[in-house]
Homo-oligomer: 542 residues x 2
């Protein structure tokens, strides 16, 4: 058995005076130290600390950069989805490669991150055909190309190249992205919503994350500016708010009602933060929910829109899972559609919708494509958003092309349509089955309750840990759910993210587990998980 | 004739109280107003301003987001390379499309930005073949593929896929980039420099710009932190420092000595800023220079390294033009090679080298690939850089692949080698000829002096403007070089960037012009330019 030691960065930030030149150049130690070690090995003993302080004082100049002298906002930022547990998993994976029999499992199962293709999901053929042709347009002039590519992929590649000035897929584009592709995306949005959309409002980005950063950068002036975020939340938001020096204003989703989002709770938290001198600038809503998987009802969304309108908040709508709906009684409605259906126009409500090529049925995470649809801002503020986009020149053109493809996939009658639909529906229906199988498995276990994943790619089960397990975690200096996740990893190779990385009601413990392992692996994962959990509960049962 | 009006954002920031709801929702007006207009039309007259203030006071809530309430760092940031002159050019281009005979030229010639493929440069075939195959790996199993792709491109695609876990080009990679590709890049660096390089020190990024932002984010805590930057500088640096709230500490390059970088000047500026309470954290060196085109001599680089070592500065080496050298008596030396040749190791000097797939002979701007090689930082600071990288998950995988290709191009004996070398040398020798032709043309004109472009992609001629022209610019409320650039654009369609966007010795005026128009267009550009310049001088000669 091993135990967590406290997070290195936090520790370093508060114990900076004992840092030595020797530890600075050493490799990062594992976050897991043997439980019987009398002192944490990565913290030098007092004598060594004193000696190193002397060395520092004697040198001609202090090290130019140390944890004491970097931007404290960077230190403060945390991103659990790729945090300590994942580093530990990567180290175990290296151990496995060197010595395959050294651990009680044969492989690491990365259920920590929504990264479908890393777990074997195959890319959608039509999309990849088009990308491949756009990367090497010389192919389009060759007759042999027809033996390798479908005719509609060739046709689409031509159409896309015609939209790119000089057909130059290797040129920087307009800072918002290629105009013709933005128009195509806008047409896709209009078809989805039944309301007008304009390519002028689309900002193509390298995935949704840079888009979120851009909006945070625009809105946050100081720690007195707050952003309302769901708890639990996808930690991109807390990380981005920390990096930009703002305040996260939490609102709690109600686990009892399937992670319900209540406007009363929004109001309560808004008023509470205002009484502390925080100016709340925006409300983040993730729909379908991450890590919580709920799909908002239209009536609920209307109340949220009304709330933003009344309180003068920017509505930041994370809608990257809009294609991932697994239950028949729920449907995705974009916030823009809801706002327009209420009669609100571009003049009434600043609203940003984030979309990504990384999710949906396509799961093209490595392509880093996405967009934000920006409505309801004045022309001069829009110019400022454009300026920030222009400092990074443009997003990658392959990602731009892919973003246009997901918003305009093959249509009935196209050569690829049938095979495309088989691929698409195969992935989505399999994801629905996996979500259900995992949810049922979790709910069958002692001390675990798990809401349905109505959408998105995750389950967020609650673990009711025995007091003795909480005590063991405390003794190891770590959060109980992090302790549980660490034990799970070390026993089974399954990587999940502790609920503390997303935020949760104090005193409750959760973890996020993706539904993404390939379907044939799910039974084995469930059985490994069950075996671990039963042993864990036996070990710690009060 | 038209004239500039003052920059909208600056104006708005200081005249915010007169902003009305009506102007907020209006489209952005052209930055060029007719010279005889009695009042600038985009600023409402006092009566309208009062009325709009009343409307604001009467509405239930102020507009959620206005120039008064966004992050002032965003307002402060400027990026001339895609600034006002480019917006004006884009508007003229639209005018041309609607009415081809409306302007005294037939096309806009974008010499404002280093974007070779937008001006007709063709991508390198081998690189595109490999990208195309990696985008659609199913092709690799088909015999027909050999009819369309070179055998070494197929072989290389296989090698790359083997380096990607699960061959999943659509998966998020490691946050620093795919390990096998980083190792390949490190091998390329080692072969270039003759000193060891490690893939663990490589951070793959979506071009060099996000890498620069990451380092600024790490180093800048407040406006009391300064970054030494060359003047003239590529405005990414001033923009990034502004966005992160730091202070740009200028050091002036010496135009008289071919944009020489003198350590005495660095020391002087460092001490001056220190006396103002600024803590200088880092020195930015752009080599080959942008916009100035000089290539640093090794002896000069040694002094710069020594300076950084003595003063405890991070050396931020922008080396994205390392392949673009056009003179026989100069050679590119990476700062890491220079530092290592002086005996400095990883423990002595924090040094970051930025590289990009956008420049060189490949010019793959739209692919958004690049890397930074990070050496000389402690392990705990490195972890913080890793954490910031991980918040954005990873850079785009096609860009990662391309970065590995430029650092490991075809070798003698490979099927593609000869045609690759023809493409590569063709581009580089043509760029050298274009640089020379433009330099000579500029130097042949009254009142223009122009240093040689030893490297990079730009000329930065000085224009000695007649007093009368300076007066006309002042009357138009704009900088004299911006006035000149605007007149040039409106007469010829040629887009250059005013020197004021890069910084220059006060009282001197310049513009940056790329050497990137295709070679057959250079004579016409020169003759248009000459004609404009002679008329301009005739108009304003004192």
């Amino acid at each position: 058995m091993r135990r967590f030691v406290a997070d290195r960065a936090r520790r370093a930030a508060t114990a900076a005076s004992t840092r030595s030149a020797a530890t600075r150049s050493a490799a990062a130690p594992s976050p897991y130290a043997p439980p019987t070690a009398p002192t944490a090995p990565s913290r030098p003993p007092p004598a060594a600390a004193m000696a190193s302080a002397m060395v520092r004082a004697m040198s001609t100049a202090a090290a130019p950069v140390s944890l004491d002298t970097i931007n404290p906002k960077v230190l403060k930022c945390e991103y659990a989805v790729r945090g300590e547990i994942v580093t530990h998993a990567q180290n175990l994976q290296q151990e496995l490669q060197k010595n395959p029999d050294s651990l009680p499992f044969e492989e690491i199962l990365y259920c920590n991150i929504g990264n479908p293709q890393s777990l074997g999901q195959q890319p959608v053929t039509f999309f990849r055909e088009v990308l491949s042709l756009c990367d090497h347009p010389a192919l389009l002039d060759k007759s042999e190309t027809h033996a390798l590519y479908s005719s509609d992929a060739i046709e689409r590649a031509w159409q896309i190249l015609e939209k790119i000035p000089g057909r130059a897929t290797g040129a920087y584009s307009h800072s918002q992205g290629i105009k013709g592709l933005r128009d195509e995306i806008a047409a896709g949005i209009a078809a989805r919503d039944g309301f007008h959309a304009s390519g002028d409002n689309i900002f193509l980005t390298d995935g949704a994350s840079p888009a979120v950063h851009m909006m945070m950068q625009l809105l946050i002036r100081s720690e007195n500016d707050g952003i309302l975020c769901p708890i639990p939340q996808y930690p991109l938001y807390s990380a981005s708010i920390a990096l930009h020096g703002g305040s996260l204003v939490p609102y709690f989703l109600d686990e009892e009602t399937g992670w319900g989002l209540e406007v009363d709770e929004l109001k309560k938290q808004l008023e509470e933060s205002q009484s502390k001198g925080i100016t709340v600038r925006a409300l983040v809503v993730i729909n379908p929910g991450n890590p919580t998987g709920q799909v908002l009802a239209e009536e609920n969304q209307k109340k949220i829109v009304e709330f933003c309108k009344n309180e003068g908040l920017v509505l930041l709508a994370d809608e990257v899972y809009q294609e991932n709906i697994y239950v028949e009684d729920k449907q995705f409605h974009s916030f823009k559609k809801v706002a327009r259906s209420m009669g609100y126009t571009d003049d009434d409500l600043p609203l940003v919708s984030f979309q990504s090529v990384s999710k949906g049925y396509y799961g093209e995470c490595g392509k880093r494509g996405g967009y934000m649809e920006v409505t309801g801002f004045s022309a001069d503020v829009r110019e400022q958003i454009y300026k920030v986009a222009s400092v990074n020149l443009c997003s990658n053109v392959s990602g731009q092309i892919l973003a246009s493809l997901i918003m305009n996939p093959p249509k009935a009658g196209d050569e690829s349509y049938e095979s495309f639909m088989v691929e698409r529906d195969g992935i989505l229906s399999s994801l629905a089955r996996r979500a259900k199988a995992l949810e049922e498995a979790f709910n069958s276990l002692e001390g675990i309750t798990c809401n349905k994943a109505e959408g998105a790619m995750y389950l967020f089960p609650r673990i009711h840990l025995p007091q003795k397990a909480i005590g063991a975690a405390q003794a190891a200096g770590t959060a109980p759910d992090a302790y549980y996740a660490c034990r799970l990893l070390e026993a089974t190779g399954i990587v999940v993210v502790p609920g503390s990385g997303f935020g949760q009601v104090p005193g409750t413990w959760h973890f996020r587990c993706t539904i993404l392992p390939q379907e044939d692996k799910i039974p084995a994962i469930i059985s490994k998980f069950k075996e671990f959990h039963e042993k864990f509960m036996d070990e710690f049962r009060d």
